[in-house]
């Protein structure tokens, strides 16, 4: 029995990181009604930039290296919108989608150009495992869980307490009315892209701490994030959070039933089934906040 609980624990930990990816993706979809493929590169760039700042010649300690990495990723996210998506917004949605696919491929290859294609790690001291009442958790995994919950708590406070958070939700609800009431679109879009990038980068870094870095890490997690977004109902921030947890748990529990090679299959199957039967999402009905 404890074997399944261990898998469940791993699932919650992985799920909390997927939630970070999904929340960023759904924020952008909520306000701009478009799935940003290049969101994947925000994940991978966040991790690689942290690696850059924490390895020679800069070699800052990890907790310091994270700051410039996240800021730079936020800049990448913001400039994606400013230089490419904003001019394309008037065109047909498909040009926006193909452009984001092209951009994602381009950024992924810039990564491969600088850091090459092979696996890398943060080469941390071997993580001491904690073991309480029979379940095995590494220090990093606890950090992941704590960091993810912290980020999501910040987001909750921002969206429900701050005026900018409310203006953001208002814009997602009714763009024209928000403009009439004086909500400044440039400010909202800057906040949305910064938030999405910071969350993606944070998730990327946490994931890289636990596993390793490779150029394709972004794409692999993008599809998982998309499954979570769909589960939560596109544009629904809390739905995306629950969706992320669900995917994390389903993937890890799934390992008990079929070969690990099919771990990613879970999120694919979730996407396919949801698209066909419930495009509006399941959790979307439970939580109201968009």
């Amino acid at each position: 029995m404890s074997y399944y609980l261990q898998l469940l624990l791993n699932g919650v930990i992985a799920g909390s990181v997927y939630a970070l990816f999904a929340v960023g993706l759904t924020l952008v979809y909520g306000v701009f009604r478009f799935i940003n493929f290049a969101h994947a590169e925000l994940i991978s760039w966040g991790a690689y930039l942290t690696l850059m700042f924490s390895s020679p010649p800069v070699s800052w300690p990890l907790c310091l290296a994270v700051i410039p990495a996240v800021l730079l990723t936020a800049f990448i996210g913001f400039s994606q919108d400013w230089f490419i998506y904003r001019p394309l917004r008037r065109g047909s949605p498909i040009t926006l989608l193909i452009a984001s696919i092209g951009l994602s491929y381009m950024l992924r290859n810039v990564l491969r150009l600088i850091w090459g294609s092979d696996l890398m790690t943060f080469s941390l001291p071997l993580a001491r495992g904690f073991e309480f009442s029979g379940y095995y958790v590494t220090g990093i995994q606890l950090l992941m869980l704590a960091a993810a919950l912290l980020f999501l708590m910040i987001l909750y406070l921002l969206l429900t307490k701050s005026l900018m958070g409310k203006s953001l939700r208002a814009t997602a609800d009714n763009l024209e009315l928000a403009a009439i009431m004086g909500v400044s679109m440039p400010k909202v879009s800057a906040v949305v892209w910064t938030l999405a990038s910071v969350f993606a980068a944070a998730g990327g870094i946490l994931l890289a701490l636990d596993t390793n870095l490779e150029p394709m890490m972004g794409v692999a997690n993008l599809i998982k994030a998309f499954a979570a977004v769909l589960l939560g109902g596109a544009g629904n921030v809390w739905g995306a959070l629950l969706g992320g947890l669900f995917i994390g748990i389903a993937e890890n529990l799934g390992v008990a039933f079929f070969s690990p090679g099919y771990k990613d299959f879970v999120s694919f199957a979730v996407i396919f089934l949801l698209l066909l039967f419930r495009p509006r999402g399941i959790f979307g009905l439970l939580t109201g906040v968009r």
């Binding site: 005026l163 409310k166 203006s167 939700r169 208002a170 997602a172 609800d173 009714n174 024209e176 009315l177 928000a178 403009a179 009439i180 009431m181 004086g182 909500v183 400044s184 109201g288 906040v289 968009r290």
Partner: protein, 245 residues
């Protein structure tokens, strides 16, 4: 003259919908614009509100030419637009809707004060301040949209068909509230489907037909004038001939 619309020609791409439309609103007045469907009533309003830029003619508000001014800018100058239909944020609570409505008020205290006053003034929505706006009834939603006026205290409110989709007794409630707003020194430009109701609360009215000024007069004059009814429902042959010209 608080608002002056002079010979506006406007439309969406192909044939212009409005041709040389002129109208005016004095401070403290309620002015309504009525006319059969497709007369261009909403287009006039969208031009005054700033959602649509006219191809000819100009709009002056409080002595300033605002023809090309953006919507938010007009809001800051006290010209508030309440659109038709979906004019609230369904996934925000009632209180949050009012906070967004108060965005144009600088200073946190002033904004909170205005919101508290508004919630007290409208007990119907005051009681439901922490509910999501989507759970409100049609009448309550319209009241929430109207309550924005009490928060911002604009000089001119431009209202697009407030009674659309509301049951008759709710329409009376909403119109009472509109009249109530003038006591705040707010002037009102109103487009309304329910012509008689609108005329009964308006000081002056403009009747449009197929994008042109057709009639104008005080509320009571237009109420008696059966030309208005003929416009809506079609009248004697003489009248039909010119409709076809």
């Amino acid at each position: 003259m608080l608002l002056e619309v002079n010979r506006i020609t406007a439309g969406y791409g192909h044939a212009p919908i409005l041709e040389e439309i002129s109208l005016g609103v004095e401070t403290g007045e309620i002015v309504c614009v009525i006319g059969p469907n497709g007369a261009g009533k909403s287009t006039v309003l969208r031009t005054v509100a700033g959602q649509l830029t006219p191809c000819a003619g100009w709009v002056r508000y409080a002595g300033e030419d605002i023809t090309r001014l953006g919507i938010a800018e007009r809001g800051r100058r006290g010209l508030m637009f309440i659109p038709q239909g979906m004019n609230i944020f369904p996934n925000l609570t009632v209180r949050e809707n009012l906070e967004i409505a108060g965005l144009l008020i600088s200073g946190k205290q002033a904004r909170q004060q205005a919101i508290r006053e508004t919630l007290d003034h409208y007990p119907i929505i005051g009681r439901k301040k922490d509910l999501y706006a989507r759970d409100l009834s049609g009448g309550e939603r319209q009241l929430l949209a109207l309550s924005r006026t009490r928060i911002l205290r604009p000089r001119l409110v431009v209202l697009d068909e407030p009674s659309l989709g509301l049951a008759p007794l709710l329409v009376n409630l909403i119109f009472d509230e509109i009249v109530g707003l003038t006591r705040l020194g707010v002037s009102i430009l109103l487009v309304e489907q329910n012509a008689r109701k609108a005329l009964s609360i308006s000081h002056r009215g403009y009747v449009l037909e197929l994008g042109r000024n057709r009639l104008t007069g005080t509320g009571s004059q237009l109420l008696q004038n059966d030309e208005v009814q003929r416009l809506y429902l079609g009248g004697e042959p003489a009248d039909e001939a010119n409709a076809m010209s």
